[in-house]
Symmetry: C2
Subunit: 443 residues, 2 copies
């Protein structure tokens, strides 16, 4: 033995864990590349050598990134799911992903997935299967790409009470709204651009109709409120009906329009439970969410003790999503080596999921009124009489000979109060028209 | 048994864990309040009833917030440290905190602390004691209050390679710089205001000289780079020398001055290792760090796969810091119930900590030059000849008859290149004066 060897630390004998990957798309390719390139780092951090034993793909002959060794490819997904210590599911969709994950868990594997649709539809079943098998079930990559928001809600907020979660969690719609805002494009034109650039699918439904964001909202709400929330509990409105004119008017009043995933706890005289929804809303330009552009995501968590917390980062893409997947892989591997387990499903609070009428938000109401003394006061009076408190009123533009536009921004108001106020405004003689009623978040 | 009782889930028998609290200051008071008020939530989340058995304080007779039950108070800190399953240390400073934590760990307790100074000075000793005892050692509250950045670096980045961490982690200096910027105050006047309002201590050294931020920088760097970094490894410059004039000029060039904690990995032709430092720097107003005000903190992490991630929230205060402490309490309690352990110290990468000469940053150089044709080109030529690449040059103001001010912003440059460039500029005949050389981050 040389002197040099004597000074070295003893070579650590690490166990080897078998890793199977289901799917070799954009994210899978990056996961495989990083696991192979940084094998020593992963061994040092997790305590085990991570050996990829198989990568299940549908089409063995399809062209592949050279980062994926061809000899690892197989079309036997069941063998990959059931023959490994850790199984990474990156196929997406409900089936066969669900059956493969259940097979992996019952074969004793820990499962890491980024499959938001599956979790929002079958989360409790998957959690239960993991608990029954004594395995880990992880899904950091399911929401907001590289941003560790699942971790934050599941563990960092475990000592606090979350009151609301507000997020931009869909990059495709965020890109489309950005294009509409900066270039004045129509929704259709911006969607076409997004499709050309590969940011939107040929069938853009999941993104533009808010379904992808709704799955993420369900996951965020479940974690934030220790309550089972499925995708069917989420009130969803996408961005198809947002017009270039809407965005111009939003900007004129100092706002951007963003598609928000919202999970809110209510505990007041009128309602007790949670409201979970996805819809476009005005966001004041000074608010940090207004400057989240393109494929970036941001999630704002409010908790009783912590106050506001914001997390910002890349919400999609191969490498950023792979980073999230791999943090889960290290955690699951560490548990195999040192004991311990992933957090189990937490739904002890079991709060009622409230209907659309329980949403409490601010509103911007635009009216066309007779431009005569007292109009503004009359309008404000009607709003207040209906139990809606006013943040600001301004008479912003003159249209025609005797008309003015009045823009009211309210404090947070319940739907039925708002509806009462709008009905009251319509009934006012000096109100010619209620031009628009829009939700405002982030004030 | 009534029908109603039959429908209830069976009462779960949970173990009880004994919790001791060392210190009942601002944070300790909130920790105690929340543990008592939300006992059922903590039981559901951690799997154990958490029973506070004692709160060690120096002065039993001192006035206390009513949230702290007087019957829990004791002046026997050693008994609290050694007689519990979980010990929460919130005394601060090196001793007796260090001895009490070591006593708690060797008595088999898991320890949760927010003591940045202690960790930056004695982290490895505390980690080793926890490992030897098979106990957990947690310190989320040591950096950036409610923001779960310790968690993020220790666990969420475990599958990625961090390249840099940039943070505003000291609320006192951030408040002082804000006051100087918005009100044009001198450092001394802004400090006096901060002291009057209780935002700065009577002896403000730890904050204004950057020592508090340096302890946090050492912790962030250790976690980010899997390398032991102590407070003595950090190059520190505080904000005492920042003048109202500096801030006016920063604003004139579209920047704010912020005190930054920086941990940077270098792996290039000139250096291999990490640079860890605290100093004031210009930050362009569009950069998210520029709009972090008052007691808020923000940490920007760059990683190879994830790209940029930003975390933002309250960096201090009783309740926000308590939120961080309590997330650690839940994690440590869960481990007692279900097995598993906190991450151990990770220093396998053992990267060299580089000296001040290894800092790579952008610079803003302001020169007073002769206002004649070719000055700008000559100046730019000297900078480029010294290996410093230029981002922008502008001739911004005329002073005196034949003089102009030229402002150069460089691309990231090594210290010795920058020094060469500045020496070259001083030697240029048409340069009358090098007015200022300032670091710029976040471009």
């Amino acid at each position: 033995m040389t002197e040099h060897a004597l000074q070295d630390p003893p070579t650590q004998v690490r166990p080897t864990l078998r890793v199977g990957v289901l799917g070799a798309g954009t994210v899978g390719t990056q996961v495989i590349r990083l696991l192979l390139e940084q094998a020593d780092d992963f061994a040092a951090r997790s305590g085990a050598r991570l050996e990829i034993t198989g990568v299940a793909v549908r089409d063995l002959a399809a062209p592949r990134d050279p980062a994926v060794p061809r000899e690892l490819l197989t079309d036997d997904a069941t063998a990959v799911a059931t023959g490994n210590d850790l199984v990474i599911e990156l196929i997406g969709g409900i089936e066969p992903a669900r059956s493969l994950i259940l097979a992996a868990l019952s074969a004793g594997a820990s499962v890491i997935t980024g499959n938001k649709a599956l979790i929002a539809a079958h989360g409790p079943e998957l959690y239960a299967a993991a608990a029954a098998a004594g395995s880990d079930f992880y899904y950091e990559a399911a929401v907001a790409g590289a941003i560790p928001v699942v971790y934050a809600l599941r563990e960092s907020m475990a000592g606090d009470r979350v009151t609301s979660v507000l997020g931009i969690v869909n990059g495709t719609t965020n890109y489309i709204l950005d294009e509409m805002s900066t270039k004045g494009l129509s929704f259709e034109a911006a969607l076409a651009t997004a499709q050309e650039l590969g940011y939107a699918e040929a069938d853009p439904t999941a993104d533009v109709d808010g379904l992808d964001a709704a799955a993420k909202a369900a996951i965020l709400a479940s974690l934030a409120f220790h309550t089972r929330v499925g995708i069917d509990d989420v009130q969803v409105e996408g961005i198809r009906d947002v017009t270039a004119e809407d965005i111009r008017e939003a900007r004129a009043s100092g706002c951007e329009i963003k598609l928000l995933a919202i999970a809110q706890r209510r505990e007041d005289d009128h309602a007790s439970g949670i409201s979970v929804r996805v819809h476009p809303a005005l966001v004041p330009v000074e608010h940090p969410l207004a400057s989240v552009h393109g494929a970036f995501n941001a999630v704002l968590i409010e908790a009783e003790a912590a106050g506001p917390l914001m997390f910002y980062g890349q919400g999609a893409g191969g490498a950023p999503t792979a980073s999230a997947v791999l943090s889960d892989v290290v955690a699951a591997a560490s548990h195999r080596v040192d004991g311990g387990q992933a957090p189990r499903e937490s739904f002890y609070a079991d709060l009622p999921v409230l209907g659309p009428e329980a949403a409490v938000t601010r509103y911007q109401i635009q009216l066309r009124v007779d431009d005569q003394p007292g109009s503004l006061a009359a309008v404000a009076g009607v709003v207040a009489d209906n139990g809606v408190s006013i943040d600001s009123v301004r008479q912003s533009a003159y249209v025609g000979a005797n008309d003015a536009i009045v823009t009211i921004v309210t404090h947070p108001a319940a739907v039925f109060h708002l509806e009462g106020a709008v009905a009251g405004l319509r009934a006012l003689e000096r109100v010619d028209d209620v031009v628009s009623v829009r939700r405002v978040e982030g004030l």
